[in-house]
Amino acid sequence: MSMELLVVSGRPGNWLSLRDPRLRILIALGFALTIVSLRQVPLLLLALSFSVALVLSTGLSPSRIFRRLLVLEGFMLVLLLLLPFSVPGEAWFRLGPMTATWEGFQQAIVILLRANAIVFALLALVGTLEPVVLGHALSRLGVPDKLAHLFLFTVRYLGLLHDEYRRLHKAMLTRGFVARGNLHTWRSLGWLLGMLLVRSLERSQRIVAAMKCRGFNGRFYLLDGQHWRWADSLYALITVTALSVLLLLDGMT
């Protein structure tokens, strides 16, 4: 219940869950590095359909996928809308004093395709991992110990603090608080944030004391059985080949 904030569980026992988490992270990274250097729209479409197929094969429910579609934040929307007007080239249409160009439109499309292909692949390959398993895999991949520990502890307390936040927020609502775009709302939310921080500090002091009682000396031992199998190497080989072919095809034209 407390972990519901992060977990995107695919169908249990799907084929991806049999693969080593490290392999899934490495493939996602290799895929992302390849995709950002592709320029041809057809190849990007191919990559996008591959990542969509990957997401579907993990058994994620479509509603969850749509909720996690590339979140186009305000400023990115600005960039994509202005690109056709700022890139010089063949005229497409006119809007007042500005001329939109095909080249600019194509650049915007390339950015959209790249970003979405990577988001979907990341969601399918890494987003379906348990956060704790992800932390262990990152540590096994050579992420510094302190960072990996911080990651694991943060994931551990996210759910608890989300509950704490909901409790405080509910208390405000009970007293008739309505969030509006005014100074009173912002100040009240600031106090809520302050209270959340004060409570977290107290909680963390209890946690550290309890851990010291149990002999915590700054080392956090990771016990798990992640085994690299020969099939993982096979998948890695296939991925490297496929990505190299994509890069070659992209460079040919």
Binding site: L29, L70, F85, I118, S200, V208, G218
Partner: protein, 203 residues
């Protein structure tokens, strides 16, 4: 609000961002005492949860960045805390890309460190001005600097992005005002209720 997706920036900018992040991270991790990790983690989880809250402004709503506040409270420890938050947001929520993680991280971290240098000591001074004003400045400055860094990392990548980058800066204005007020209220509150919260960076 400050998450650049993959596929926008050029390789030199992404490599530069990654190198800068690694440099900041290696200093920060050396300064982070292992015994403090649980404490930093609980606070960074609190920041993460708070950044999910959408706050109404005019017709729309915004999400807080909180890097100014994190810098003021956590000091150097804000660097790994922000990185962890960005990794979680990229992987589980689809905010921001994977390859541009370095750029996204340094865009948040550098303003946090600047806020730490400017405000952390003043906040600890019991005699000094009221907490709301210092928090207001830290929150506003965090957003302002991040906005500048996001806009310039996009503009450096490709001169064609320049007009968009200029417009982009204005989209940060409402967030800057809200974040300044919220951070000011949070720090004013913390100073009255639990001043020890502001003494963390020294340990």
């Amino acid at each position: 609000m400050a998450h650049i997706p993959d596929g926008v920036l050029t390789a030199p900018v992404m490599i530069g961002g990654a190198l800068a992040t690694v440099a900041a991270l290696s200093v920060a991790l050396r300064r982070l005492d292992s015994e403090r990790i649980p404490q930093v983690a609980v606070l960074s989880a609190a920041f993460f949860v708070s950044s999910l809250v959408s706050i109404p402004v005019g017709p729309g709503s915004v999400h807080l960045l909180l890097n100014g506040l994190m810098g003021a409270i956590l000091g150097w420890a804000a660097v790994p805390a922000i990185l962890v938050a960005l990794v979680l947001q990229a992987i589980f929520f689809g905010y921001g890309g994977l390859v541009v993680l370095g750029v996204n991280c340094i865009n948040m971290v550098l303003p946090a460190l600047i806020c730490a240098a400017l405000f952390a000591r003043r906040l600890r001074d019991v005699e000094s001005q009221n907490g709301f004003i210092l928090g207001f400045l830290a929150g506003g400055l965090g957003v302002l600097l991040t906005g500048f860094m996001v806009a310039s990392s996009i503009a450096i990548s490709n001169p064609d992005y320049l007009p968009a980058a200029k417009v982009m800066l204005f989209t940060y204005l409402p967030l800057m005002i809200v974040e300044a007020v919220v951070t000011g209220a949070a720090i004013g509150f913390a100073r009255r209720v639990a001043p020890e919260l502001l003494f963390l960076p020294e340990r």
